[in-house]
Symmetry: D2
Subunit: 278 residues, 4 copies
C-alpha cells in the first residue's frame, strides 16, 4: 500500500549527495512531494528534508540511504503519526491553554500525555480537557529533589517532546541532558535581549519600542539554546510593563505553537546552536 | 576555469526529475551550492533553481539538461553577470532615488541603461548620478503615440527588465506584450485591495489599520499581474491620506527594491498568475 | 470614596472644548490619569477619552459635561465594570476557544453570557468552560426564521456586545439594526481584500505574499463595517490555501481578541465608517 | 496674521495642569489642532504636545504658560521652520543616501548643513547633491585629536541635530556632552540585543530568526541611549551574515529616517533613558 515518509538527512557535505540520495528514491519509484536542502558552507554540513510517497519498506529505505550517505550521517525515515508530548507549566494559562485548545480541535499532530506543574493553579483548566494533571509541589524540596519527582513521572511515559508552556523554573543540567533536544521552551523576550527574569520589566525599563518572544530548544545555558521561532509586536511609552506582559502573551503563545508545529512536522534540524527550519 | 551557473527549470512534474537532473550535475562533477525545488501539485508543475560551480560549458550543460527533462521544459543556464535595466518614472523621486543610490553604491547587480519619464521633474536628480535621462512628454499625444516614442527609445537598447518606479500612466496591451514578463511595477497598495487610482485616499476613506505596497509583473489587467513582493505598515486614525502616502513611500521603495533584487538574482519564476520566489 | 471613570465625548469640534471640559474636571478636583483627543478636521468632529479618578457623582459629572459641550454631543461617563458579551460561532474553535481561555483566566474584562451556534460541534468545548451553549439549528428554517430564534434568545439577556467568533452566516439587516454598533466580527482576510466567501482560497489564487484578518463592527454591507483592528502574516508559494487557512487562524484569533479588548476598555469610537482607537 | 505653534511641556504632574494650560490657549482664542498628553505615573511626570493656530506672540505665549506651569517645567513654543542638521558618516552610503534623497525631494523638514566623514568614500555621492562634504581623516590622530577637528567644524555652524548615518566610530564623553540630546544614531541591531561591533555577525552566530535596527539618542553609554524608533525583518538559516547585513540596511535607513522625522517634527520627549514619541 502507498505510504508517505519524511526523510531527514544531516551529514557532512559531499559532492554528489543529492544525486546519490535521489537515486535511492528513483530506484524505488518513489514520488518526491517536496524537497528542501541546505548547505551550511561555513561548517560544511548538508541538510535535507524530503517527503516521498510510494511503496517502500521503512527499514530497507533507511538502509539504502545509509549506504550512499557519509558514515556519520544522521538519517531518519519517519512515517508520520501523532507525536506524544508532555507539557510543563507553572501558573500562567495562555500558552498552555492555547495548546489545549489546538489539541482539542485536532489541529495539533500530537497527543498530550499529561501536564506537569509546580503549582495546582492550572489543574482546573487542564481537567476541563480530560488531560492528566500532575502537581509536583516544590515546597521543602531542593531543586534536585523536585526534579527527581518530575523525572520519575516523565520516565514512566513514552514521549517525543517536553514543551515548557511557561514553566517558570530553571532546569538543572541533569534534567536537560536527560532529554537533550527534546525540550522546547518559550521565553518571553526577543532573545538574546532580556535573558533571565522578568523580561517585560527589563524591556519597559530600557524603553524599547518592540517586544517579542522566542521559542527554543533548552540547553544548559539559560535562554541560550537553538532558536526555533521568534516574533515581535510594537509597544509604546503608554504601556506599563504589565501592559507589555499582557500584549506579549499573544506573541508568546503564537510563537510557541508555531515552533511546536514545526517540530511536530519534523521540519527542524539542530545545527550547532542554531536551527534550520524547512 | 571554475565558474558558477544558476540553473532554472520549469516543466511538468514527473517521477525521477530530481534524480535525472542531479545526475547531469553529478556526471560533470559540479558542486551544488544551493538547490530549491517546488512542485505545484494543483497544476502538476515542477520548478527548480540550482546554483552549481565547477567546470562546464554553458551550451553543453543546457543541452544535457534538455535531454533528460520533459520536452516542453523551460530551462535556463545563467552565468551571473549584471543585468541591464531601464527605469521609468513620472514625478515622484522616492522609488527611483532608492534605486539610483543602490546602483551608485554597487549594491544592485545591474546597470541602469537610462531613465525615461513623462515629466522632466526628475531630470536633475537623475543627472546627478550621470544616468541618461529621456523626457518623453505626453502633451498633444495620444496614449499610443506617446508609447511609440517610448518604445522607439527602448528598442534601441539592450535590456533585461523595465522597472516602473512610480510610472503613473497605464500601459497599453501593445506595450505590455512587447515586453512580457520583463516589466516590474510597484503599486502603492496591498493588492488586491485598492486597485487603481490613489490607493492612499481609498485606504484612508475605508479606515484600514494597515497599508502596504505590492511589486508585480505587469500584465494587461491593471494591477493584476503576478505578485513578486509585498509589505505593510500600521496606520491609525490620526493619519490623513497624505500622511499615509508619506509613510507608504518607505514601504513602496523597499518592496520594489526587494522585488528587483529577487529578479536580478534569477530567483523568480512566473507560475500562471503567481510567482515562486526561491 | 475615590472612584474612576472613563469619560467619552464625541461632538462637533469647537474652540475652547478642551478648556471647558477640563474645567469641569478641575472644579471637581478630579485627577486626569490619561487623556486622548482627536479632531477629525475633514468632518469637524472632536473625540476625547479621559480617565479621571476622584470623588464624583456619575450623573452629576455627566450633566456638568453636557452643559459645556455642544448640544448634540454624545457623552458617556463609564465607571468600569465587566461587560456582558454573547458569543456566536459555527464550527471552528480557534477564535471561540481563545476567548474562552482568556475568560477562564480572568484576562477578559467581561462575562460570557452564552455561546449561540448554528451547529452543535462546539458544544462539548463550551461546556468544558461551564458556559451556557445554545444550539439553534438552521435546518428547515428560512434565514429570517432562524434569526428570529436567535434574537429570541438574545433578547432575554442583558448584554453589551455580540461577538461573532467565526459565525459563518450572513446576518439580515433586521438583526444588524437591532444591535447596531454592538456586533463585532472577525473576517478572515485583510479587508477590503477578499470580501466574501473563502478568502484564503481567493488569496491563494491571487498569489499574495501576505494574508491577514480584520475585526470590524457589523453593518448591513457585508464586510464593510468600521474596522477596529487588523494584522497580517507572510505566506509563500509553498502554502496551499489550507495551509494559509491554518496559519491565518492565529492572526484571526489574536486580532479578534485585540479588538475585543479595545471595545471592552471603551477605547473605540465609531466615526462614520471608521473607528478611532485610543 | 494667523500662525501655528507646537507647544511642548515637560514637568512634574499636578492636578489641574490640563485645565490651566488649555485656559491659556482659550483666553488667546487659539485653536487646538492636535493635543497629546502622557503622564508617567511611575515618575510623576507630565508631558504634553499641543499644536495651536491663531494670533499670538511667541514670547508672550511662552510666558503665560510658564506662569501656570510648575516652576521647573521645560516649556517650548516652537513656530515650525526647517531645522538644521549635520550628517556624520563613514563609508556606507545607504543611510546617508536615503537622507540625501529625501532632502533633495523636499520631504525632510530640514536643511543639511554638511556631511562630515572620517573617510572620503562618500564624497562623490554627497557632492552630487551639492552638499558641503568635510573629510576629517583619523590617520595619526588620537581619538581626542580627531574629535577636536570635527568639533571645530561643527562649532562654526548653527545646527539643531547631528545625525550619525552609520558613523562607525565611538564618540568620547566630551563630544557627547557637548551636544547632549542632539545626536541621533542608527544602530544596526534590535537593541539591547547585540550591542557593540558587527551585530549582524553576532545575530548570525546566535541563529536569530529576526533582525532589526534601532535609532536612539547618543549618551555616554555605548548603544544605551534613549530609543526613538525600532523595526525588524525576518531572517532565516539560508542567510549568511553578509546577507543579513544587506537585508538589514533597508531597516536601518527606514528606522533612521523615521526617527529623524519624529525629531524634526518635535514629536519626541526624552524621559530619563526613554523617549515619548507623540
Amino acid at each position: 500500500m502507498e505510504k508517505r515518509a519524511r526523510v531527514l538527512i544531516d551529514c557532512h557535505d559531499a559532492k554528489g549527495l543529492v544525486y546519490q540520495l535521489s537515486k535511492v528514491f528513483y530506484e524505488r519509484e518513489l514520488n518526491i512531494d517536496s524537497n528542501r536542502e541546505f548547505v551550511d558552507q561555513e561548517n560544511g554540513r548538508f541538510f535535507m528534508r524530503t517527503v516521498v510517497t510510494g511503496l517502500f519498506e521503512q527499514a530497507e529505505l533507511l538502509q539504502a540511504l545509509q549506504e550512499v550517505a557519509p558514515k556519520e550521517a544522521d538519517i531518519r525515515v519517519i512515517v508520520p503519526k501523532p507525536k506524544k508530548i508532555i507539557l510543563m507549566a507553572t501558573k500562567e494559562s495562555h500558552a498552555l491553554g492555547d495548546i489545549l485548545i489546538r489539541h482539542a480541535d485536532g489541529e495539533l499532530d500530537a497527543t498530550i500525555e499529561c501536564v506537569i506543574a509546580n503549582h495546582d493553579t492550572l489543574e482546573h483548566l487542564v481537567r476541563r480537557f480530560d488531560i492528566p494533571f500532575f502537581h509536583v509541589p516544590t515546597e521543602g524540596l531542593s531543586r534536585e529533589e523536585h526534579e527527581k519527582h518530575v523525572m520519575n513521572l516523565i520516565d514512566k511515559m513514552a514521549f517525543d517532546y517536553i514543551v515548557l508552556a511557561k514553566y517558570m523554573r530553571i532546569l538543572t543540567p541533569t534534567f536537560v541532558e536527560a532529554y537533550a533536544r527534546r525540550i522546547i521552551n518559550i521565553h518571553h523576550s526577543f532573545l538574546p535581549a532580556f535573558i533571565g527574569a522578568n523580561p517585560y520589566k527589563q524591556a519597559h525599563q530600557r524603553g524599547v519600542k518592540i517586544i517579542g518572544a522566542t521559542a527554543h530548544f533548552v540547553t544548559n545555558d539559560l535562554d541560550e539554546g537553538p532558536i526555533i521561532a521568534q516574533d515581535v509586536i510594537p509597544v509604546n511609552h503608554r504601556q506599563e510593563w504589565r501592559d507589555m506582559q499582557r500584549a506579549g502573551r499573544d506573541v508568546e503563545k503564537v510563537v510557541l505553537s508555531r515552533a511546536l508545529s514545526y517540530v511536530l512536522n519534523d521540519r527542524v534540524f539542530v545545527n550547532g546552536n542554531k536551527t534550520i527550519v524547512f
